[in-house]
Amino acid sequence: MIEVRNISKSFDGKQILHNISSTFKKGRTNLIIGASGTGKSVLLKSIVGLVQPDSGSILYDGRDFTSGSKDLKTDVRREIGMLFQGGALFDSMNVEQNIIFPLNVLTKMPKDEKLDRVNICLAKVGLENVNKKMPSEISGGMKKRVGIARAIVNNSQYLFCDEPNSGLDPQTSIKIDNLIKEITHELNITTVVVTHDMNSVMEIGEYVMFMYEGHKLWEGNNENIFDCQVKELEDFIFANNLMRAVRRQKDQQ
């Protein structure tokens, strides 16, 4: 479980995050949604320690990550797996080397065991026979899957995904969403996904937090999101024709 308590962050005098608090529970997919430029990625980067918040604290299963010692931060980071927007695969390494990388630097596992882990993770994300391919030789969707495999190879307890569907076709997006949900349930980990894709919200939004101009305006899940009474969230949801159609259908029922 990750607890975010009163996080605020400013850049060059402009406040990006306003006193955000939330709890991301274990074993469910937690989504942070909102339009572009609302501070979702800054919040995610604050949670994983890439950005130092101005105030507030972040607790990983009770461990204070923001003000903890360097050793504690390193320990927590070793339990974190992250899927970046573009995959962030290392260009100079092939798929296998990318996935094995966290094991090489963080563990003393024997080589055979590491290779087994790589193959298990690749099978889990539905990829086979790509071990020796370079990142430039695989598609965007495959890069995302390799990114997920790399994120979970070290038995991560916390999985973070920054816009996992950006740049993907609808079918691949659904596959990635389902993969994230499956992994979260199967491994019983805490997953936080930043997205502005309403399809993802409907597919995997077991907990949804809506952000608007750096404020948390609403929290709930994909079942009660249509009943929200927040104008900004309604505007966000029904900007999409498909969602308007879903709303009409629901109203007719």
């Binding site: 931060k73 390193t74 320990d75 970046f84 695969l89 963080l106």
Partner: protein, 193 residues
């Protein structure tokens, strides 16, 4: 460089009172003291410096550096330190090779054009040899290698933005490295010679 220095020195030595071996003596000292370490470092900045800045800049904008940080790896020591150490090891070797090739190039140019005989050339490069010049060239090469690698790594590591900024970082790495090299060149000459 050695070949050009040989031909130009021969062209300028019009007095019959000056012996021919002075040509190779000039080539030797110019090569060891200045041409090999300094000119090579400018080439090194253009090739290796831009490469380091471009690679780190691309890693930064594609979030590869963030990925390392999230894994709990100190990205600076993982990415920058090996580049500096590799430069410190390889650049002095490159300077040594460049100096050898330059002096050998001078020999070929001088003997093939008939400006100087092989015996005179060999005599000249051995005449009044100061061993400290070699140490000076190596000290310069260590300093220049450190400057190129660290300035370029800094420019690349702190790139922000997109592909355009990677190009800017790469260019800036080369120009800043060249300026730093020339300043350090003067300072080292003043301090050590």
């Amino acid at each position: 460089m050695g070949a050009v220095t040989t031909i130009q020195t021969a062209y300028n030595l019009i007095s019959p009172l000056i012996p021919n071996y002075v040509i190779s003596l000039v080539v030797r000292d110019m090569t060891i003291l200045e041409l090999a370490p300094t000119i090579m470092s400018l080439v090194f900045a253009g090739k290796v410096g831009s490469n380091i800045a471009g690679e780190l800049g691309t890693m930064r904008i594609t979030e590869q550096i963030d990925a390392l940080e999230v894994m709990g790896i100190n990205s600076t020591s993982y990415l920058v330190l090996p580049k500096i150490i590799a430069s410190l090891i390889t650049y002095p070797m490159l300077v040594t090779l460049a100096a050898f090739l330059s002096i050998y190039g001078g020999y070929l140019a001088g003997t093939l054009t008939g400006e100087i005989t092989g015996t005179e050339y060999i005599y000249g490069i051995r005449y009044d040899f100061v061993a400290f010049n070699i140490a000076f060239a190596l000290i310069k090469s260590f300093v220049f290698a450190f400057l190129v690698a660290s300035i370029s790594a800094y420019k690349g590591y702190f790139t922000s933005g997109g592909a355009l900024e990677v190009g800017v970082a790469s260019t800036s790495a080369v120009t800043n490295s060249c300026i730093a090299i020339l300043l350090a060149d003067y300072l080292l000459a003043q301090l050590l010679l």
